[in-house]
């Protein structure tokens, strides 16, 4: 690891100020950033820790919306969202292992937008709004391809506003080595319709499966998906799965998510 400076502000305003230099980047749970620094793939001059900022932590309900502070750990979401939003709690509770869940945060996960990460599916699958120090971004606009988001330099996610669905579930097929999602599907049913978001599968990162959403909106039953499929083209090809396999898993995991939600 290269040497760096470390600051730990206690307010969003101070964090934003500390990040303004251009040489600084935010550190949340460090579960992605620290390993990449140890491997010397990332060498920031200054790390601005977000974990001392009380206003960025915790889970609360605001009407039909669950508001999750960006620096809230996966373990905390798994615990605190279990009553209001079990689909989200279930997702958070299956990220990594206990050590990762006790440190990793929703803000870090969304900002990183790993194509195999779980939270992007929940954010897109609920039509969440990503709240930053300067604006709110709709999930549909936030994810812009593998490891790419709408965040500007120095912009900090402060919280995530997730509309609470009538029913939801996340079905994750584990990549055997990393146990990230080889393919994961988040399904959420709202009065206005059903949303289906897929992670792990596409070279373009998390995406919505429109045909499945339409079919499920008229009949929220896994049978409604029969006959539907996604194209293998554009799916990730790696040691763990061919594009055809991932395209197939999208169907299987969507069906399983619907079955688990209903």
């Amino acid at each position: 690891m290269h040497a760096f400076e470390f600051v730990k502000p206690s307010s969003i305003a101070d964090a934003v100020k500390a990040l303004a230099s251009g040489e600084a980047i935010p550190l949340s749970g460090g579960q992605t950033l620290i390993p990449s620094m140890k491997a010397r793939l990332n060498a920031p001059e200054v790390l601005v820790s977000l974990t001392g900022i009380a206003e960025m932590k915790g889970v609360c309900r605001d009407g039909d919306v669950l508001v999750v502070g960006a620096a809230t750990t996966h373990a905390e979401v798994a615990r605190a969202a279990a009553g209001d939003f079990p689909g989200l709690a279930g997702l958070a509770g299956k990220i990594g292992d206990p050590a990762v869940r006790s440190r990793g945060t929703i803000g870090g996960s969304l900002a990183n937008n790993d194509p195999s990460a779980c939270y992007p599916a929940a954010a897109l699958g609920t039509g969440a709004r990503i709240v930053t120090d300067r604006r709110e971004i709709a999930a549909d606009d936030f994810f812009q391809g593998m490891f790419t988001t709408a965040l500007k330099e120095g912009e900090v996610i402060t919280s995530v506003r997730l509309p609470i669905p009538e029913a939801s579930a996340y079905a994750k097929f584990l990549q055997p080595a990393s146990r990230f999602a080889l393919t994961g599907v988040f399904v959420a049913k709202y009065a206005a319709g059903v949303r289906v978001a897929v992670t792990g599968a596409s070279e373009g990162g998390v995406f919505r499966w429109a045909e499945a959403e339409a079919a499920l909106s008229s009949d929220f039953d896994s049978e409604a998906l029969s006959g539907l499929s996604v194209a293998a083209e554009g799916m990730i090809s790696d040691l763990h799965g061919t594009p055809e396999y991932r395209a197939h898993l999208v169907r299987v995991m969507t069906r399983r998510a619907v079955a688990a939600a209903s």
């Binding site: 690891m1 097929f173 040691l239 396999y245 898993l249």
Partner: protein, 790 residues
């Protein structure tokens, strides 16, 4: 009454007290005064010519003591290979130089080019980034068959080709084998890959070199399975340091699985650099570095054929294997696909004619050497997969086909057509036991139940044999070993009766400190607590050949028995003197010497005290003291064998395989500590099932390691396994070592891969996917699904 801490007792492992409380003392825990740190700059290309190395900027960076390149090792030898294989035509293998730091060329990703020693580890890393290396990329050879093609780029310019050797075994049988195939009623063939693996012990490799200029004394602390062998190889062949000036210490070692047998360049580097810099020099491998510098395992491509007569008796086996050596020859690499593989091709069967051909190939990849099982898993996998395929092709029960061809109990000792002589065994017994424990009789009912849930259930069997306790020295010498393969022990009885045992067998997970104490406690009849086992330091343990090939108890334990017998003989004479009787009349029981048929006795500590305070002592006939050393050189290998049964459930929607139950019925001969044996089998099964379902070391065509971290190299986790049932009740004791033991360390990793794959193929066939005759390991969900949907 059997002793509760003697042979046969499941004594808890005494070493676990320190391991489980975090108080083990590993090499990385050793920090010497004034210690400096080395970081190796490693090649990031698979094949290239080094045109220039400019380390001037790096050399003047903060904290840097020295930047080393190959020029600093001009007078050192290469890392030696410990085994010379002779090819089909009687010619020695091609043996390239393996420099400590790359000379002229880099030959695999991870090949060390330069080394920076600095005050801190981070300073060394920083400076390494400032070294400018001008490398001309050369076309790499990764695929073994492509490496042997006419005009392929050469890994070593000074060799005639990338072929290390072309070995035929038994060459004289070749024509007879071919003739048997010509006359066969049935021929079954199979092409398969034995996937390349990375050992991944929990503790990465570490080396600390130290030099005392006043005594001209070198010390190397290293993560080794065999410190004496490192002392021999490094001292004699690389750095020209005589043994009495070189001490090698392997303290607690966190797993090896073969990967810590070998002498590595980093060890020689730290030893040498400590002398040059007059500072201790430490290297600690990162996990990423381990993936590109620890020797890998397996990596065979094989075609195997079986000839059968009309009654389904095996009449001949013929194999052709390409074995990857990687870029250099690691210490025992050439012996693995030959003498530890070809000699096992008879398996448990009375096939009269066998011919094994192995082409060992240099490629631009990390060197490949022994990994738990070493050659024997490769042999077992091909044979047991092939027999399963034969049963399907012929429409017969795979269990019956095996039984029909098993060597029978009355045929031992059994001379196989591949040189080795099995001393004893009973293969039907282990197979019966396995089927009973697996409740095979009601498998069909369970398969129906799975089917009702939309799952495919399968049952796979494999029978294995291995040759362990590798020896005898004169035989392995003829086969090309450049070392003896005995083991030694010193039993030092202290004045008050406590016993210090010094063994050449290093322990790094095997539990020697417990088991070896049980053996001595049983023989003398004292408490195991009064015995301490010392190992791992060449300055105070006798010459040892190390721990691998499941040899520790069979060979090292036998040396301990021999030395203990010498101690008892002498103690008996002392007791006879004290009791004024003839030594022949003295009995040793429960730690007490008595005169047969009398109540005259003296206890153990009375004798040991007399040995060291020899006031009343036969000084004219006996030396004082009670300490004996023995060397044991076995007369044959040992031959553990067993039947493995694997029950799986396969999800046809995703291709995912779950192990439901895994039964191992092993014949390890006598067992000293059943609990430790069970643990060894569990560990072996975890690695074997890991190979079958998860682990895969993959290079792309440019020689970049695609599975270079745990993000992509799937290590098994505890929740990947369940339902292990381990039995070792069907035992036929080894006939030629004093304990009657055979070795248990590798069995699990040898027998389990074919059992898992056979179970998967069984599940698929039961569900009508009869076009699938084989799937290469690892059987990942994607591979299984792709096979089903081809």
């Amino acid at each position: 009454m059997p002793k509760d801490d003697g042979i046969g007792a499941s004594v808890k492992r005494r070493e676990d007290n320190r391991f489980l409380t975090g108080n083990g003392r590993y090499t990385d825990d050793i920090n010497l005064r004034g210690q400096a740190y080395v970081h190796f700059l490693r090649s990031d290309v698979a094949h290239g010519r080094i045109k220039a190395i400019d380390s001037s900027a790096a050399g003047s960076m903060p904290g840097v003591l020295k930047v080393f390149t190959s020029a600093d090792f001009a007078s050192a030898g290469g890392i030696p290979c410990g085994w010379q294989v002779t090819d089909r035509h009687g010619q020695p293998m091609q043996e390239p130089k393996h420099p400590i730091l790359a000379e002229g060329k880099v030959r695999h990703v991870g090949d060390p080019i330069a080394a920076v020693v600095a005050e801190t580890y981070e300073q060394a890393r920083d400076a390494a980034e400032a070294i400018e290396v001008d490398i001309e990329d050369l076309e790499p050879v990764i695929d073994m068959k492509a490496a042997l093609a006419e005009g392929a780029p050469k890994v070593h310019d000074d060799l005639s080709s990338n072929l290390c050797y072309d070995w035929g075994f038994v060459e004289e049988n070749k024509d007879a084998v071919n003739a048997a195939f010509g006359n066969a009623a049935h021929v079954v063939s199979l092409e398969l890959t034995n996937n390349r693996l990375v050992a991944n012990p929990m503790e990465p490799r570490v080396a600390v070199g130290d030099y005392d200029p006043w005594g001209d004394m070198h010390t190397l602390y290293t993560t080794s399975q065999n410190p004496h062998v490192i002392r021999l190889l490094m001292g004699a062949f690389v750095l020209s340091i005589p043994e009495h000036k070189l001490r090698v210490v392997a303290p607690d070692v966190g797993g090896g699985f073969g990967s810590k047998i070998y002498h590595y360049a980093e060890e020689a580097f730290c030893t040498h650099a400590a002398k040059v810099l007059k500072r201790p020099v430490k290297w600690t491998s990162s996990r990423s570095e381990a993936f590109i510098s620890d020797a890998h395992g397996r990596d065979h491509k094989t075609k195997i054929e079986l000839a059968l007569d009309a009654d389904h008796n095996f009449t001949a086996i013929r194999t052709e294997t390409y074995a990857n050596m990687g870029a250099y020859l690691s210490t025992f690499a050439p012996s693995i696909p030959t003498w530890l593989h070809g000699t096992l091709m008879a398996g448990n069967y009375k096939t009269p004619l066998i011919y094994v051909n192995v082409k060992a190939v240099f490629t631009n990849t990390v060197p490949v050497d022994a990994y738990r099982g070493a050659g024997r898993p490769e042999a077992t996998f091909q044979l047991e997969r092939l027999i399963d395929k034969a049963a399907r092709q012929l429409g017969v029960d795979p269990i019956e086909l095996r039984r029909r061809n098993f060597i029978q109990p009355d045929q031992f000792p059994y001379q196989t057509p591949v040189a080795v002589v099995y001393d004893t065994g009973n293969y039907d017994a282990t197979l019966d036991k396995m089927l009973e424990l697996a409740d095979y009789a009601s498998f069909d009912k369970r398969a129906e139940e799975s089917k009702a849930r939309g799952k495919l259930r399968g049952f796979g069997i494999a029978h294995y044999i291995e040759a362990c306790g590798i020896a005898p020295s004169n035989l392995v010498g003829q086969l090309g070993a450049r070392a003896g393969l005995y083991e030694s022990a010193t039993i030092r009885v202290n004045a008050t009766g406590s016993i210090s045992v010094y063994t050449g067998s290093h322990s790094h997970g095997q539990g020697h400190e417990t088991t070896f104490a049980q053996v001595v406690a049983e023989m003398i009849g004292v408490d195991a607590d009064s015995i301490h086992i010392h190992h791992g330091d060449t300055s105070n343990t006798p010459m040892g050949m190390g721990t691998y090939g499941s040899r520790s108890l069979a060979v090292g334990g036998s040396a301990i028995v021999k030395a203990t017998n010498k101690v008892i003989d002498k103690a008996r004479k002392i007791a006879a003197h004290l009791l004024e009787a003839a030594p022949e009349d003295i009995e040793l029981k429960d730690g007490k010497f008595s005169v047969a048929g009398t109540d005259k006795s003296v206890d153990w500590s009375g004798v040991t005290l007399a040995a060291y305070v020899p006031h009343n002592y036969p000084l004219e006939d006996l030396e004082p003291g009670l300490e004996e050393t023995a060397f044991y050189d076995p007369s044959n290998f040992t031959y553990p064998a067993g039947a493995y049964g694997c029950e799986i459930e396969l999800d046809p929607e995703t291709g995912k395989i779950d192990i439901l139950r895994f039964v191992a019925a092993d014949d390890f001969g006598n067992v000293v500590n059943p609990m430790i044996v069970e643990g060894q089998v569990h560990g072996g099964l975890a690695q074997g099932i890991g190979q079958a379902l998860l682990e895969n070391c993959v290079y792309d065509e440019n020689g970049q390691l695609l599975s270079g971290s745990y993000m992509d190299y799937a290590m098994p986790r505890a929740d990947d396994f369940r339902g292990f049932v381990v039995d070792h009740s069907c035992n036929t004791p080894c006939t030629h070592n004093p304990l009657g033991v055979k070795g248990c360390g590798e069995a699990g990793a040898i027998g389990s891969p074919p059992a898992v794959v056979n179970a998967a193929i069984d599940a698929l066939h039961r569900a009508g996917h009869t076009h699938i005759t084989h799937i290469d390991m690892p059987l990942t969900p994607s591979r299984v699904w792709s096979a089903m949907n081809r």
